[in-house]
Symmetry: C2
Subunit: 275 residues, 2 copies
């Protein structure tokens, strides 16, 4: 069964000069049309993207919505994709699950046992018993939503309580008692870079999964400036900017170039920071 320690993840980051996560959000309307003739176009697309980028990234993150919407075919493509990703690359099921304890237990089974991911994203609204069943697996990770990159993040996440504490701060504080930084990470959106600094101050040891660089407008330098810790501490995700960089026969080469562009910037940052 897959699984990765924090030390192994940090080692991979140093070795590859990269803290890049590539989001495998495969949309049949966006992939090169010639792939649609294959028996499993989703897996065929992912396979070629993985082959072209696996030396440049330390994580892959399929967003489950893009697979579920194809029913059983989507689940098969997802399973094949996870199996195809080399074991030394961290895998993230971007599923944003969370339910009462008895039910979260089954979601954990789905993503950690059946699908064999290293980690899963979880939504915090239902509190402790919706999160802890995922934390019971050795070597597996929960990536909890703290501060998301979308417009709707402003609706509830910045709500300030009577003690001056924002909701996302409360999520960080409470959840730190549920899991340590070797089993729990946080989603912290790149589109609010000053807030990343606040989150880093509150959670010095935890890794952040940072979406929102690229299509959503976040800046890699800002994320590194505000989010860094002495183990790097950030996984920066890019999905559409890499996987849809091209739309022809050479799409995988184009994806590689887009990934290489980000990875080169990351290598430079890692060097500057002494990692």
């Amino acid at each position: 069964m897959r699984g990765m320690t924090k030390e192994q993840l940090v080692e991979n980051i140093k070795k590859k000069g990269s803290f890049l996560c590539i989001g495998l959000d495969v949309d049949l309307d966006k992939i090169p049309p010639f792939l649609l003739e294959y028996e499993d176009p989703i897996f065929e697309f992912n396979k070629r993207i993985i082959d072209a980028t696996k030396d440049l990234c330390v994580a892959y993150k399929p967003n489950i919505a893009f697979y579920e919407c194809h029913g059983t075919k989507g689940w098969e493509a997802l399973k094949k994709t996870v199996d195809y990703i080399p074991d030394d690359i961290f895998t993230i099921a971007d599923a944003k699950r969370g339910d009462i304890g008895n039910t979260s237990h089954y979601y954990a089974k789905t993503f950690f046992e059946y699908m064999n991911f290293d980690s899963v994203t979880v939504a915090p609204y239902m509190g402790v018993d919706s999160v802890t069943p995922f934390l019971e697996y050795d070597g597996k990770w929960v990536i909890l939503l703290a501060l998301t990159s979308n417009k709707g993040a402003l609706d509830f996440q910045f709500t300030t309580d009577i003690n001056g504490e924002k909701l996302f701060e409360k999520v960080l504080k409470k959840s730190a008692a549920w899991g340590n930084s070797s089993q729990l990470m946080y989603v912290v959106g790149a589109t609010r870079s000053e807030a990343i600094g606040e989150v880093r101050a509150m959670s010095p040891d935890y890794f952040f999964l940072v979406p929102g660089v690229g299509a959503q407008g976040g800046s890699l330098e800002d994320v590194a400036t505000y989010g860094w810790n002495d183990s790097c501490g950030i996984l920066v995700n890019s999905s559409r900017g890499i996987i849809y960089a091209g739309n022809e026969e050479d799409f995988a080469d184009k994806a590689r170039l887009a990934a290489l562009d980000l990875q080169s910037q990351m290598a430079k940052i890692l060097k500057e920071k002494g990692l």
Copy 2:
């Protein structure tokens, strides 16, 4: 394609003397062992439960976690189950999804198009653009988490802001601008009956999906006292208390008796309330 108006739902409640929702949380470790010999034990179980209870309830709610954990087989059993439920019974995908707009759009496709449910439960943490893509389907419903029935509900949902407003109240207030009571319902747990009254005062016209009666300890009378509105306005869910009432060859008869017990109480309440 399935779909149900609020008027049709209320009509069904009156006709059947029931506001019962049955949760189809099928666990292979809990179903009668003789069913495991069938090709699709999950569907076989659901089919018999549906046959035995469909005149007593107005909704069925499969919790998606229990299907996902079996991968493609689980998804097939789920699809067959939804197809098997008569069209005049409301179907709820208890999936607790929610992601950035582009992604929620694909979750909506999954549950409303591919799976053909009438409704899906959605988590509010990511705000407006995580919810509105689900509201774009005519005749389909979002059931938004407001106040859940579990212990962890206390972690964040009761957080009071500087204006004295609790987080679940903010969810009710903001989301009322996103969808009206003919397309949006709320999850309001039965285990906090006084709070149900608060929610009803804030959202007089909306239906509530009320889990937590039975195994989790909530009381049907309290729910009806605090949650009622002039169209009934509540769907009370029971899962384990009904579907696992028996564990032998006659499990479907036992499930019927357990459902009948709740439905009789509901018929009495409906009569007292003049519906």
